[in-house]
């Protein structure tokens, strides 16, 4: 145990029991005895584990699953040759994408063009740092956790503008502009709706938000003895729906996939990217969808909570993220995209007003109960 006398990266909160993954690792490997350097190393190891877990989900399983999911929605079979269910295509895809020539057009504005993919993918990765994924997988738990997630996820907009503007392509430019207009219009409702959750939980800290949801019982189903936990999706379904909608706009998926809109803008800000850069941009998109799912799971669906022992937390959490991912694919198959002006209108005139109404209402209710 890192004693109270030495400075520590993570001052233990819950009466000295390790909560976060770096703490677990410090304890298990005995790195704690090397002081700050040891803890730093443990933190890196933890970040490495979490990062790879996320990448395995988004970068490796995601594209394959997306193929299979859309295929079943659209009456197709999709990949089926390599391995069971065509899962071997993941390796082939990886080789293909990484081995391709990285074509950089003459007129691109470097280094913005080169940085954009990293910003897009990196910003989403950062967000996962504060998400409690259950089974002790939780990198950091700052008191401003929720604000942090929104902040880093918002950085992606800069990446989109960089990509759109630096590509020297008119389609990319239009895509980039659309992305900014859209993100500005939908980030506010997103954050404001998130705040209504904060009002309930009384904290911005992710672990606290999860704990509050699972400690309280909303009601008990008579006869079955099932205590339904007070997940915010159940407590305030209105906020949940608002948040879902704003989230789809935030990650740019149907009905709000205007920044790409392949039928109109080829691929928007992605048009000029190839090879590894393309992989990064696309990875960023997937990461954002999964991060969106993670935020929804954490602040509305009780985080890693689920039936069974606590050790299964990560399983439930993953399931919830994939549920949101599944929903985005469903919408892609079934829902048309709105027009850019309609999208802005829905954002500013619809969602913004509704989200403030929700916030006011929630504040009033919380005030009355308290």
């Amino acid at each position: 145990m890192s004693g109270a006398t030495t400075p520590s990266l993570f001052p233990l909160q819950n009466g000295g029991d390790p909560v976060l993954l770096p703490e677990h690792i410090t304890e298990l490997t005995g790195l704690g005895q090397f002081g700050l350097a040891g803890e730093l190393l443990a933190t890196f190891v933890a970040a490495f584990i979490v990062g790879n877990f996320i990448l395995a989900m988004t970068g490796v399983a995601g594209p394959w699953a997306k193929r299979k999911i859309t295929a079943s929605f659209t009456d197709r079979i999709a990949v089926n040759h390599l391995g069971p269910g065509g899962i071997g295509i993941i390796i082939a895809d990886a080789v293909r994408l990484l081995a391709k020539e990285n074509i950089i057009p003459e007129n691109v504005d470097r280094p913005a063009y080169d940085l954009a993919p990293i910003v897009i993918a990196g910003s989403a990765m950062l967000g996962f740092a504060v998400i409690p994924m259950g089974s002790g997988i939780h990198l950091a738990d700052p008191e401003v956790g929720l604000a942090f997630v929104f902040a880093v996820a918002g950085i992606a907009s800069i990446g989109l503008v960089m990509a759109g503007y630096a590509s020297g392509n008119k389609y990319s430019l239009l895509g980039g502009l659309r992305a900014v207009a859209q993100n500005v219009a939908y980030e506010i409702p997103l954050v404001v709706t998130g705040m209504s959750v904060v009002l309930f939980a009384g904290s911005l800290q992710m672990s606290e938000i999860v704990a509050v949801q699972n400690e309280t019982t909303l009601f008990t189903i008579p006869g079955l003895e099932w205590a339904v936990p007070a997940w915010f999706a159940l407590v305030n379904p209105f906020a949940f729906v608002l948040f879902l909608i704003a989230n789809f706009a935030e990650v740019g998926r149907n009905p709000f996939d205007m920044p790409e809109a392949p039928a109109e803008l080829i691929a928007g800000y992605q048009t000029e990217y190839s090879s590894v850069y393309f992989v990064l941009v696309y990875l960023g998109e997937f990461l954002h969808i999964f991060l969106g799912g993670a935020i929804i799971a954490t602040i509305f669906l009780g985080g890693p909570a689920g039936p069974g022992p606590d050790e299964l937390g990560i399983l439930w959490f993953t399931l919830k993220i994939w549920g949101v991912f599944f929903l985005t694919q469903w919408l892609r198959s079934a829902v048309p995209r709105v027009r850019i002006d309609q999208l802005i209108e829905i954002g500013w005139k619809g969602l913004l007003v509704l989200s403030f109404a929700n916030l006011g209402l929630t504040a009033a209710i919380v005030g009355v109960i308290a």
Binding site: T74, K170, L174, A263, A334, P336, V338, Q342
Partner: protein, 560 residues
């Protein structure tokens, strides 16, 4: 139509009344001195006029006599003259036709443009200039339309040297980013949509000027898929060698409808009577093609509005696949059917007949449920409605001015369907309705197509009943047609059928040989596409894309 000798003259006042056929005497008195000679065609009386009278005559014909549909402009070169023919019809009654023949000298082939009277003449005259070499005075924009701007000579003119190599510089295909068409005065941006773009449904290049996301100017640039279809038809014999080509115009499953256009023209030209039994098979096959074509139109429109992962596209292809199988059984081919013959069809229904009937009926029985599914999935969707209602508006008068036909015109409330108004095949004896909608927008066009699918199913159903009960010894699939067809020299005919996209017309001039002297295709997509400019200016890019999709163009037919 007879060349007419009836002496009675209609009073002038009744000339414009819809549905009232204009007699030749009335036409003669209307044109008066301006008609310098007669040049009758098999389908219509023809009047020869002076090259300087074109606008005058055409506007009189439109305003005084009600010929409001400039169906086609055919240009051709004779040994001693050039000739432009304006094939005019009435939207109220397409059997009431008149041809205005405008000869010009070989040395100075300049004729007055009809563009100020009919907007549709714009592209038609550009094509005539491009391929034949007739020049049109007063035309706003007389440039080549199908061939590259650097092309030397006019391929369908007499003195054209086919052997001479053409140098097509790459300036046209330059990287569009290079010259940034930025205007110092305004904030508009020039954008090339296509020729390689997901939403152009082929190789179409739309030159667009954008003001922000708003479309300020649109100009379709066509010709990327020009394959000299007219000339190839001129080099084939009437009897067998032309029929395979129509399949390649509107190549997305509308093959039989196209074949019928040629079949109808040549059968009327050579005076061939098609057996009733063959007509029923033709009708059934053509309507199957129409359903397949409309399904594809619906699916690709969904691609434009929903995005590339939409389920609708695959659903329509799933349902279209059933039709493809039926057509394959019937014709032996899935795309390039080549099933019609001059005077009938190639062969009878496939044996065992019961199996074919059963298969087709099964498809028809399942169709209502599928259409219901589309209505749930697409037309009932609120987002889809906000995207499509009141976008891409095409007013009926504008549609007529541009010569729009087919679902595009009917979606604008123009009640015009050649199957009913200029009956051919077996349509007259069957019970079905022409679908029109008054929305004039993208939504109306989509609904129009979906309802036409149901009407086509009705037609097929009745055809199946007839075919099933047809006496076995009367199943003639072909008329007696001479081995070599040589229509009299100088006979001319313009005949149109209701193709999947609209009025598909064929003009043939016989020169006495077994090959056409001039073969002209009036493509519905060509005329419909012209209206894109009218529909999308001032709207947003997504609406431009949706409007383009709702026009349902096939570039194989636009460029020919």
């Amino acid at each position: 139509m007879s060349t007419g000798t009836e002496p009675e003259t209609e009073p002038e006042a009744e000339l414009t009344e819809p549905g009232v056929e204009t007699t030749e005497a009335a036409l003669e008195s209307l044109l008066g001195e301006r008609a310098i000679a007669r040049d009758d065609h098999l389908n219509a009386p023809g009047f020869v006029i002076n090259p300087n009278d074109v606008q005058d005559v055409l506007s009189d014909l439109r305003d005084e006599a009600g010929y409001d549909h400039l169906s086609c402009v055919t240009a051709q070169q004779y040994e001693d003259r050039y000739e432009s023919i304006y094939h005019m019809k009435k939207f109220a009654d397409p059997t009431d036709e008149v041809s205005i023949v405008v000869p010009t000298t070989v040395d100075d082939p300049v004729s007055q443009s009809a563009e100020p009277v009919f907007r549709t003449a714009d592209w038609h005259e550009r094509e005539a200039y491009d391929l034949v070499g007739v020049e049109y005075d007063d035309h706003p924009d007389l440039r080549r339309i199908l061939l590259p701007e650097t092309w030397q000579g006019h391929p369908l003119s007499k003195d054209y040297d086919q052997e001479k190599p053409q140098l097509v510089t790459l300036t046209e295909h330059q990287n569009p980013i290079q010259p940034d068409h930025h205007d110092d005065e305004s904030d508009t941006m020039f954008l090339n949509i296509g020729p390689h773009h997901p939403a152009t449904h082929g190789v179409l290049h739309v030159k667009t000027v954008l003001d922000g996301e708003t479309v300020a100017d649109v100009e379709p640039d066509i010709g990327y898929l020009h394959r000299c279809e007219e000339q190839m038809c001129e080099q084939g014999t009437y009897r067998h060698q032309i029929m395979p080509y129509p399949d390649r115009w509107d190549y997305v499953s509308a093959g039989l409808l196209n074949e019928w256009a040629y079949a109808r023209a040549i059968e009327d030209l050579a005076d061939i009577e098609v057996p009733e039994y063959a007509q029923i098979i033709r009708t059934m096959g053509a309507e199957l093609c129409r359903i397949a074509s409309h399904m594809l139109a619906l699916g690709t429109f969904a691609l434009d509005v929903y995005g590339e992962f939409t389920a609708t596209f695959m659903y329509t292809f799933r349902d279209r696949e059933v039709i493809q199988d039926i057509l394959e059984d019937l014709t032996g081919q899935r795309m390039m059917f080549n099933y019609f013959r001059v005077g009938g069809v190639a062969w009878d229904l496939p044996e065992p007949r019961e199996e074919f009937f059963e298969q087709t009926r099964e498809f028809l029985n399942e169709l209502p449920a599928k259409v219901g599914e589309y209505n749930d999935l697409i037309t009932g969707n609120e987002i889809f409605q906000t995207r499509c209602i009141d976008t891409g508006v095409l007013e009926p008068e504008v549609a007529k001015d541009y010569g729009c036909t087919g679902p595009v015109a009917r979606g604008s409330g123009v009640d015009y369907d050649l199957r009913r108004d200029d009956p051919y095949g077996y349509y007259e004896q069957l019970d079905w309705d022409v679908i029109t909608r008054d929305g004039c927008d993208n939504y109306a066009r989509v609904l129009c197509r979906m309802e036409e699918v149901e009407e086509s199913a009705k037609i097929i159903e009745q055809c199946l009943d007839l075919l099933e009960d047809w006496p076995e010894d009367e199943r003639d699939v072909q008329a007696n047609v001479p081995r070599t067809l040589k229509p009299d020299a100088g006979t001319e005919i313009y005949r149109a059928v209701e193709g999947a996209k609209g009025e598909l017309g064929i003009y043939i001039r016989s020169d006495g040989s077994d090959k056409p002297g001039r073969f002209k295709i009036r493509s519905p997509c060509f005329s419909n596409l012209q209206a894109l400019e009218e529909m999308s200016e001032g709207e947003y890019i997504p609406d431009l894309i949706a409007s383009l999709g709702s026009l349902d163009i096939v570039l194989g037919e636009v460029d020919r």
